[in-house]
C-alpha cells in the first residue's frame, strides 16, 4: 500500500513537472522577480501534490473497484433478467428495462461531480470574485444536476442507439438560445463549468458505465458507442448553470 501511494505520488509529480518547469522558467527568465510569500506558496504547492496523490490512491482503493463493478452488474443481462418475472422473455432493446441504470447514472453523475476537486476550485474562485453573490454550493449543485441529467440521457442514447451528434447539437442550440437571455456576468462561468466537471472522479466510473452498457445492449459496439458520455456531461452543466442564473435573476426581480 505504501508503495502504491508512493507510485501515485511519483505519477502526480511527473504530471505536474511540465507546469513547474514552465512557471519557474518564465519566472526566472522573463519576469525576473521573486514570487511574493514564496515559502507559503511552495508549501501550498506541496500540499496540492500530496493531497492529489492521497486523493487518487484513495479513489483507486475505495471508489473505483466498487463503482466500476456496480456499473457492470447493473448493466449485466442477468441482473436485467432478474428484475422481470420468470419465463418472460427479456427484450434487451426495450429502453424501459434499464430503470436502475438511469437511477444509477443520475445519482453517480451528481455525487461524483460534487466531489470533483477542480469544480470546487472554480466555485471557490467564483464565490470570491462575485463578492459572495454566487454560492459555492449553489454553483456546484447546478453543475451536478447538469452532469446527472447528461449521464442519464447519454445512457438512454447508448441503449436506443441514436447518433451522438444530434443530442450534442441540440444541446448547443439550447446553450445558444439561453446565452441570448442569460445575465451577462454568468456566461463565461457557465461555459467554464462545462469543461471542469469531468475530471478525476467522474470519468473512470462514467466510462465503465458507458462500456458496460455498450457491451450488454445487442447491436452496440463498445469501441464506438462507449465514448460520448463525457461529452454529454460537458454540455448539460452549461445549460443548468445558465438556467440557475436566469432563475435567480427572475426570482430577484419578482421579489423586489
Amino acid at each position: 500500500m505504501e508503495q502504491k501511494l508512493l507510485e501515485t505520488l511519483w505519477g502526480t509529480v511527473a504530471d505536474v513537472l511540465p507546469i513547474t518547469i514552465i512557471i519557474i522558467g518564465f519566472q526566472a527568465l522573463v519576469i525576473r522577480r521573486p514570487i511574493a510569500n514564496l515559502e507559503r506558496v511552495g508549501f501550498g504547492f506541496v500540499y496540492v501534490l500530496v493531497g492529489l496523490a492521497f486523493f487518487l490512491q484513495g479513489l483507486e482503493m475505495a471508489l473505483f473497484p466498487l463503482g466500476k463493478l456496480m456499473a457492470q452488474q447493473l448493466t449485466a443481462p442477468d441482473f436485467l433478467a432478474g428484475l422481470h418475472p420468470a419465463g418472460e422473455a427479456v427484450n434487451q432493446l426495450d429502453w424501459t428495462r434499464y430503470g436502475w441504470v438511469y437511477v444509477f447514472a443520475l445519482a453517480i453523475g451528481f455525487s461524483t461531480t460534487i466531489a470533483e476537486p477542480s469544480l470546487l476550485a472554480v466555485a471557490m474562485k467564483a464565490h470570491q470574485v462575485s463578492g459572495g453573490v454566487i454560492g459555492v454550493w449553489g454553483l456546484r449543485i447546478a453543475v451536478a444536476v447538469g452532469v446527472a441529467f447528461g449521464i442519464a440521457l447519454g445512457s438512454y442514447r447508448i441503449i436506443t442507439g441514436m447518433p451522438l451528434h444530434w443530442y450534442i447539437i441540440v444541446g448547443y442550440m439550447i446553450v445558444l438560445v439561453q446565452t441570448l437571455f442569460a445575465p451577462r456576468t454568468i456566461i463565461p462561468l457557465a461555459y467554464d463549468s462545462g469543461g471542469v466537471t469531468t475530471s478525476t472522479v467522474t470519468v473512470p466510473i462514467v466510462a465503465a458505465l458507458g462500456l458496460g452498457l455498450a457491451s450488454t445492449v445487442p447491436g452496440r459496439n463498445p469501441v464506438f458507442d462507449g465514448f460520448g458520455l463525457i461529452a454529454f456531461a460537458s454540455v448539460f452543466p452549461i445549460i443548468t448553470v445558465l438556467a440557475y442564473a436566469q432563475i435567480s435573476a427572475w426570482w430577484a426581480n419578482k421579489t423586489q
Binding site: I19, I23, I31, G44, Q73, I108, P188, L189, Y191
Partner: protein, 241 residues
C-alpha cells in the same frame, strides 16, 4: 492553522458524503450484496478525505496566489508577446503529459486500427496516439492564447464560443464517423485538476489587473476555450489522418 484545517476537513467530509450514500444504496438495496474488502475501502475513504482536504488547503495557499502573481507580473511587464508565449506554453505543457489524455489517445488508436483507418501494427497505433496527443496539446495551447488575448482586448466571450460550437457542428458533418465520439470526449479530458485552478487564477488575475476589465465577465472562460478547441482539432486530425 488547525481550526482552518478542521473546517476544511469537515467541508471535505460533506463533499464526499453523497458518493458514499449512492454507493451504499446501490450495493445494499439494489444489488443486495455486502461490501467486499471493507478494510481497504475504509482506508481508501480516509485517504480520499485527507487528500481532498490537503488539496483545498494547498489551493488557497499555493495555486491561487501563484496564478494571480503571474498574472500581475505579466500585466506590469506590459509585454503581450511574452504573455501569449506563456499562455501557449502553459496550455501545451500541461496537456501533453495529461494521463487522461494519454488513455483516451491509446483508446482512439485502437478504434482507428479496428476501423481500418490505420494499419493494425503497434507502430502505427503508437504514431497515431502520439499524433492525437500533440494535436490536442496544440489545440489547448492555442485555446489559452485566444482566451488570454480575449481578456486583454475585452472581446465578449459568447461570440467566440458560439462561433466555436458552430465550427464543431459543421466539422461533425465532414469528419469520419469513428472519430466523432473521441473528439467530443477529448474536450472534457484535457483540463486536469492541477491546470484548472492555475488557469482560472491566471484569467481572474489578468482581468483584475487590466483597467476596464471585470474579473467576473472577463476573467472566466479560459477553460471553456480549452475544452472547445480540442474537439475541432481532433476532428480535423481525423479528416487529414
Amino acid at each position: 492553522m488547525l481550526p482552518v484545517f478542521l473546517k476544511t476537513l469537515i467541508g471535505s467530509f460533506f463533499d464526499l458524503l453523497p458518493i458514499a450514500v449512492v454507493i451504499g444504496f446501490f450495493q445494499f438495496v439494489v444489488l443486495e450484496q455486502p461490501i467486499p474488502n471493507l478494510m481497504e475501502i475504509l482506508i481508501g475513504s480516509l485517504f480520499v478525505l485527507i487528500g481532498l482536504t490537503l488539496f483545498v488547503q494547498g489551493l488557497e495557499m499555493g495555486l491561487f496566489p501563484l496564478g494571480e502573481s503571474l498574472a500581475f507580473a505579466f500585466a506590469r511587464k506590459g509585454s503581450l508577446l511574452w504573455l501569449l508565449l506563456f499562455a501557449f506554453a502553459l496550455g501545451f505543457g500541461t496537456t501533453v503529459a495529461e494521463p487522461a489524455l494519454i488513455a483516451v489517445a491509446n483508446e482512439a488508436a485502437k478504434v482507428a486500427a479496428e476501423g481500418l483507418v490505420i494499419g493494425a501494427t503497434d507502430q502505427a497505433r503508437a504514431e497515431y496516439a502520439l499524433g492525437l496527443r500533440l494535436t490536442v496539446a496544440l489545440s489547448v495551447g492555442f485555446a489559452i492564447v485566444i482566451g488570454v488575448l480575449r481578456i486583454v482586448r475585452g472581446w465578449p466571450v459568447q461570440y467566440l464560443i458560439i462561433g466555436g460550437y458552430l465550427g464543431v457542428i459543421v466539422m461533425t458533418f465532414f469528419a469520419p464517423a469513428e472519430i466523432i465520439g473521441i473528439a467530443y470526449d477529448s474536450g472534457g479530458v484535457t483540463t486536469s485538476t492541477m491546470t484548472v485552478p492555475l488557469v482560472t487564477a491566471l484569467g481572474v488575475g489578468l482581468a483584475s489587473s487590466i483597467r476596464g476589465r471585470n474579473p467576473m465577465v472577463d476573467g472566466f472562460g479560459l477553460i471553456a476555450f480549452a475544452s472547445l478547441t480540442p474537439m475541432i482539432f481532433v476532428m480535423a486530425y481525423g479528416m487529414i489522418g
